[in-house]
């Protein structure tokens, strides 16, 4: 455990972060990565090797849907938008996370 960098996300939490990010409005892949990195105060690095498989998977499961949009630089890019099923999934993951972190905190931060 000691050699694990603080940047590594806990398994499964990337999905939740992506859903949360897209909940604010449609974004392209890079924007999602940047948002997560910035919002986490650069403590979390989102690599393309895990970001895109996650996006494609969630699109397949129907949590996200893709549409063509325009990037800040005027290029045609693929934008991801949260679906109704995705919103439900986000709620479920948030609740699970709340429970999990509360549990872990109770142990780690016990006086």
């Amino acid at each position: 455990m000691a050699d694990k960098t603080p940047n590594t996300l806990l398994h499964g939490s990337l999905d939740a972060l992506i859903l949360k990010t897209v909940a604010a409005g449609p974004r392209h892949g890079y924007a999602i990565a940047r948002f997560i990195e910035e919002a986490s105060g650069e403590t979390v690095v989102v690599e393309e090797g895990s970001l895109y498989p996650a996006l494609y998977r969630m699109e397949r499961r129907g949590w996200l849907e893709a549409e063509w949009g325009e990037s800040e630089l005027g290029r045609r890019v693929k934008m991801y938008r949260l679906t109704r099923a995705g919103r439900a999934q986000l709620a479920a993951e948030t609740a699970a996370w709340r429970q999990f972190s509360a549990g872990v905190s109770r142990i780690l931060l016990a006086q």
Partner: protein, 893 residues
């Protein structure tokens, strides 16, 4: 919907989608690194993604993307289907009349088909209720045809030797079916009755794979002589007669005065070939050449896994040849056959009947489809505008065809559901309608998953079949044309032609079924009108099947004769009784003995296989007067023909014709055996009796020999009592009279001669009623088709007709105009139907009796019926056309 829109409107190849996305990401990353945090992130970001990872990532994304697209297509397809289905249901609700007519029509077709499918499935395909039933076979030994219709049976000693010497069977067993209906009587447990018994060899239950409910079945060790006789009981008998008493196993029951130990109870469905209450072991006689001439066993066997019937046949043939050589069996043309158990059990007759019925209902289903297709076509022309609008809104032609097919399949599924209900109802009443003995044991008629699956397939299939017609029309005609036409006239022309063809085909089908039904009806009339040859009124003669139990008081012929004579006197004294007789054969009914070989004195004895055969009937002297069979020459039997007087017999007309032609009949001497002992006696012919029908449908008159019961008193006989009134009314008195002589006598099959004749023709009545019922249904469907098309045409042409009337066309003109095309359709359909009937008639010939498969009277009647009824069906629309008021029609536009 939206997910699918993306792939529709901005369709990009998946590879490009992935490449573009990754490229964009890297470019942005690079830009970001240079702009904001040159030193820290650049190294990190670029080092982390090596070339290998890039290729791997691309492959992963394409892989996921491909699955995603496939699922999306399916989802989209399903969504479209669901939309179509909902649309179809809305359409149906909007047109309840059309919907209910269409659904009911289809339900009728599918229901009839599902019931007949259940029959055909049970007869032809459904596995028999025995484990690994495909390995069960019947082994027969057929000799040259001289023995007539009798299928050759096997001597029990041969069964034993085959069973011991073969290498192709797992197990082999024999079952003995006695020619009469006799069986032992059981003492105790209620009134005396004959108990249906089958005698079998020890491995019988092992061959069929029967597991007993209680106790065990036979073992080869049970066959050892001297062991206590044992018996296996059927579940049905055990429940009805023994109150399902489990302690009965191991106890002794008394049959015919002798104790037998009950060793087991077997489940009801194993009543094999015919109902049976108990099974006992066939006593295996001591070996000897003459013992092998008594052939009585049917042989069933279970092949070893992987052995073909042909190999088993070769195996048994070799053994049989060896045995024949060893024991001097000289039967000509002896042949072993090994047949699958099912084809033996079902028999060719039942197989043909089920196929025939399946054919009939398939025609009905076709007609239902044609009628619904006609309805849809009429609607399709009305809906042309709606379809055009959909097309204009971007729906492709294939999309519209799909939607139309979805509508028809939805309709058909509703029809299939209702049809399933109808089919189940038909199967529920079937047991009360089917003639007894139509279905052999082991063949069940049930509504199960197989029938449900059939209904589902039939529904989807018919939906596509009748939906294809209007869909094809839409596909063929440019939709723009329809819109441009402004009215529905364009689509109408070809639609009308198509509807004409469908109706013509329906007429042809109806004519075909009418001809078939007519042939069956004529057969039934011939069979029912058969002159039985006896003079008594059939309803006045009461008959019952009586077997003297194997008790000491009936053990000798003299004792049995005393009983028969005493009973005759006792019953004759009962009120309402006109006369009483005993016989071993009922006219048009069963024979307890069957046919016997005989030789005429003076003729050179023929070879074994060519010996003459005659139906052997043991009768009391009063028989000829009781059923009123005239004696044409000589005399009948009297009380002076006794055990000790000269042996005599009476022969019938066919006997004289066939065997005594051109010779003095009275005084001819005939040598034949006493039944069943086989002792030979020479009898003098003392009289000639009128021909009496043995069966209603016999193709040639059977030769019959009557012998007095005083000279061959056997313990099974039919009692015939002629009443002054109706026979049924004296049943109780007769039974009481019998009880006064012996209260323990088992009596069965109490029927009047009318009932006997009815039972004999039951299968003809059944076939004729099914065939006629469906012919009537077919006629109704065809008439509905003709009427519907004509009524629709008149409606379509209202304006044209109005114009014609306005310019002076007479009523006659109009009627001729309207009826012209209908008459052509009916005429060509009729011609086609008669042609088909002539072609297919030959295949019906096995079912027919006394009528040729191409019967002018029947065909003519069918034509008259179809022409008369279609004319009636057409008259209404024609009258409507003639009454069209031109003024009103013009005002409408």
């Amino acid at each position: 919907m939206k997910r699918s829109l993306r792939s529709w409107l901005w369709s990009v190849p998946l590879e490009k989608e992935v490449d573009d996305e990754i490229a964009f990401h890297r470019e942005m990353r690079a830009r970001e690194s240079m702009e904001r945090r040159p030193q820290q992130r650049l190294v990190e970001a670029n080092l982390k993604v090596g070339l290998n990872d890039q290729v791997g990532l691309r492959r992963t994304l394409i892989d996921i993307g491909r699955k995603r697209d496939r699922e999306m297509q399916l989802t989209q397809w399903l969504q479209e289907c669901w939309t179509d289905v909902r649309f179809a249901l809305r359409q149906m609700r909007r047109a309840p009349g059309f919907t209910s007519v269409a659904v009911l029509t289809l339900a009728l077709g599918i229901g009839a088909n599902s019931a007949m499918f259940a029959l055909a499935d049970g007869v032809l395909f459904r596995p028999l209720p025995f484990p690994a039933a495909d390995r069960l076979v019947v082994v027969e030994e057929a000799a040259a045809a001289a023995t007539g219709a009798l299928r050759s049976r096997i001597a029990v000693l041969n069964v034993r030797d085959w069973s011991e010497q073969n290498r192709t069977f797992e197990t082999l067993a024999g079952i003995y079916l006695s020619p009469g209906n006799g069986g032992p009587a059981m003492s105790g447990y209620g009134p005396a009755e004959i108990i249906l018994n089958q005698t079998v060899t020890a491995r019988f239950f092992d061959v069929l794979g029967v597991r007993p409910l209680l106790g065990r079945t036979f073992r080869p060790s049970d066959e050892r002589p001297g062991d206590e006789p044992s018996v296996v009981l059927s579940e049905r008998f055990w429940r009805t007669r023994l109150g399902a008493d489990p302690t009965v196993v191991g106890r002794q029951l008394i049959f015919d005065g002798r104790p037998r130990t009950v060793i087991g109870i077997v489940p009801a469905e194993f009543e094999f070939v015919r109902p049976s209450s108990m099974w006992t072991l066939f006593p295996i006689p001591a070996d000897g050449a003459t013992r092998r001439l008594f052939t009585g066993m049917r042989v069933i066997g279970r092949l070893r896994p992987g052995v073909a019937p042909a190999a088993a046949q070769a195996d048994i043939s070799a053994i049989a040849d060896r045995l024949a050589a060893q024991y001097g069996d000289q039967r000509l043309d002896r042949r072993i056959s090994v047949e699958p158990f099912r084809s033996d059990l079902v028999g060719p007759d039942l197989r043909r009947v089920s196929l025939l019925f399946v054919g009939i209902v398939a025609i009905i289903l076709f007609m239902c489809c044609a009628n619904v297709a006609n309805l849809l076509l009429a609607r399709a022309t009305g809906r042309a505008r709606e379809l055009a609008v959909r097309s204009a809104l971007g729906a492709g032609r294939s999309r519209i065809v799909r939607q139309l097919l979805t509508e028809s399949v939805t309709l058909a599924i509703l029809g299939g559901l209702a049809g399933g209900v109808i089919g189940e109802a038909m199967l529920a009443v079937a047991p009360n309608v089917l003639p007894a003995g139509l279905l052999p044991g082991g063949v069940a008629l049930i509504f199960d998953a197989r029938v449900v699956a059939f209904c589902a397939v039939a529904a989807v299939g018919t939906g596509i079949a009748f939906g294809a017609v209007p869909a094809w029309q839409v596909a063929r005609h440019p939709l723009a044309e329809v819109i441009g036409a402004g009215s529905s006239r364009t689509a109408t022309t070809s639609g009308t032609r198509l509807r004409g063809v469908l109706v013509g085909a329906e007429i042809a089908a109806a004519v075909l079924l009418l001809c078939g039904g007519g042939l069956f009806l004529r057969t039934l009339l011939t069979v029912e009108g058969a002159v039985p040859g006896y003079g008594a009124e059939p309803e006045s003669v009461l008959t019952m099947d009586l077997t003297l139990p194997a008790q000491p008081q009936y053990s000798t012929a003299t004792q049995r004769l005393q009983f028969f004579q005493a009973a005759e006197r006792e019953i004759a004294g009962a009120p309402g009784v006109r006369s009483v007789a005993w016989a071993s054969t009922l006219p048009m009914g069963n024979s307890q003995i069957g046919s016997q070989f005989f030789d005429i004195d003076g003729d050179a004895p023929g070879a074994e296989v060519e010996r003459p055969l005659a139906n052997y009937q043991i009768v009391s002297p009063s028989y000829f007067t009781t059923v009123a069979v005239p004696i044409l020459a000589g005399r009948g039997f009297t009380d002076r023909d006794t055990e000790s007087s000269a042996p005599v017999c009476v022969v019938n007309e066919a006997f004289v014709e066939r065997y005594l032609r051109g010779r003095p009949v009275l005084g001819a001497r005939i040598r034949m055996a006493i039944f069943p002992t086989g002792d030979l006696v020479t009898r003098e012919v003392i009289g000639v009796a009128r021909q009496v029908k043995g069966r209603a449908d016999e193709r040639e008159d059977p030769a019959q020999i009557y012998v007095p019961n005083a000279q061959n008193a056997w313990n099974e006989a039919y009692l015939l009592v002629r009443a002054t009134n109706r026979g049924a009314s004296i049943a109780a008195q007769v039974r009481a009279a019998l009880d006064r002589i012996d209260p323990d006598l088992p009596v069965r099959s109490v029927l009047t001669l009318e009932g006997v004749a009815d039972a004999a023709t039951a299968r003809y009545r059944f076939r004729a009623s099914i065939a006629l019922a469906f012919a009537v249904v077919a006629l109704g469907l065809a008439l509905a088709g003709v009427f519907g098309v004509l009524a629709y045409t008149v409606e379509q042409r209202t304006r044209e007709i109005g114009v014609r009337i306005a310019v002076g066309a007479t009523t006659g003109h109009i009627v001729r105009l309207v009826l012209g095309s209908a008459a052509r359709t009916v005429a060509s359909g009729t011609v086609a139907g008669v042609g088909l009937a002539a072609l297919l008639g030959r295949s019906l010939s096995v079912f027919l009796f006394g009528v040729a498969p191409i019967d002018p009277i029947t065909f003519l009647l069918a034509i008259v019926v179809i022409c008369g009824t279609t004319a009636a069906a057409c008259s209404l629309p024609a009258m409507r056309a003639a009454r069209i008021d031109p003024a009103t029609t013009f005002r409408q536009d």
